[in-house]
Symmetry: C2
Subunit: 239 residues, 2 copies
Amino acid sequence: MRSTGAAGAAAADDVRGDGAERPMRHDGDSIHDELRAQILSGAIPPGAALREVVLAERFGVSRTPVRAALGRLEHERLLERGARGLFVKRVDAREVVQVYDVRIMLEAEVASQAATTRDDHDLERLDGLVARDRALVEPSDRLRMTTNLEFHAALWDAAHNPVLLDLLERLSVHLIHTPSSTLSVGDRWVEALDEHALIVAAIRERDAVRAGAVARRHMQRAREIRLDLLRLEVDAELG
Amino acid sequence: MRSTGAAGAAAADDVRGDGAERPMRHDGDSIHDELRAQILSGAIPPGAALREVVLAERFGVSRTPVRAALGRLEHERLLERGARGLFVKRVDAREVVQVYDVRIMLEAEVASQAATTRDDHDLERLDGLVARDRALVEPSDRLRMTTNLEFHAALWDAAHNPVLLDLLERLSVHLIHTPSSTLSVGDRWVEALDEHALIVAAIRERDAVRAGAVARRHMQRAREIRLDLLRLEVDAELG
DNA sequence: GGGCTAGTTAGTGTATACACTAATGGTCCG
DNA sequence: CGGACCATTAGTGTATACACTAACTAGCCC
């Protein structure tokens, strides 16, 4: 794939001075990541068909790695099998609400657990993220989403619970195509940052109950706003 | 005429006497299901290596469908990538407890939601399962596990929440190789049946709060017993 | 003119050959 | 006797050819 004259390239390469133990797994993963990103960003819209041959051409590889990537995406529920092949999944409003309901629960649990399991490094990282986000001036829609995701990911890590982590990661997939972030509504961004700070404060003091409660409220608020957005959307469609 | 030629080739390929003992339908899915069942049952033990060529031979297919199946199993977290290829995942006691913690939460939520969303058919099914399990006399270890799983699956369905369902199904995978069922300890089986009945009763009356509470207690009890089992196991290992 | 049927085709599923990489074992040198 | 180097090899990753199936189209019979 990388080089058609593979034998020659392989013979010449005996230098690996960059002593890093990185996974080095660059098989079909890159295709998977790329497709995933494009689906999540909406570049490949819901309902679009994903043809193996087309993708193989686009990525300059054979169907084999494309197939692997598609299989994984299907299993992540990002794609669904239609009459003919795979299509980007469409999510409806009902499902989005259900996702939020579950996520409220899980985030509360994560925060609660993080309060007891976090180490100094976790705390430092969370503090750093809060400070960094506070320093942003008029961040773009995209930046808000990214930094927010980063913060929550740090929270997830602080819980040191691979099971919860796995479910949360899987859950986030269900939220594809939520058109815009709740963090761009009114002064929600500033509000959310304050709530983040509250969560971190509770975690710092190892107050599991409070951490859970604060996190729960944080996500409930997000759910409310998401509902408003969905209503607006529906109204727009009907009117 | 290409089709006749193809048919002939296919026929010539698989002629092994007249006894058609094997279904010719080797969908990639069947391999996935088969492997999954063998892993869950322990027939393929934790830590075992899964070699593509070996499996391809065993199933009488090429590496391609085997690869697809393995990819899916890896994504389900049943396998993990080791130094060389894929291995059946080992789960440690810590993770089992974490799974129970999360499951307590999810089962409570499911029961609570089922109380509001269930229809008559759901209720009928749950009633039927409870009655059926009550009628069993001295069920085997395996039967206890199966019927219990069936009951909970029916509960999950009654919630009519695909998101919760997805997570619970995914979660159950984390419980592979929990050596024995908690339902074979003392009189836990009878106890559990009573608790099932309580859950169904609350769902019948559409009492979401009580359903959640009862279900939570049910799973907490299971967690306790699992912990006891794990302690016994650890003690046995230490001597 | 409408439904039924056969040919066509687009697209996936599978087999196989080849490329490549990391572990392994043996040998040589210190 | 021990450690580094090289050949071997086991096993995965990728490309490509082929098989098969379900949807489409065009014609045919009624």
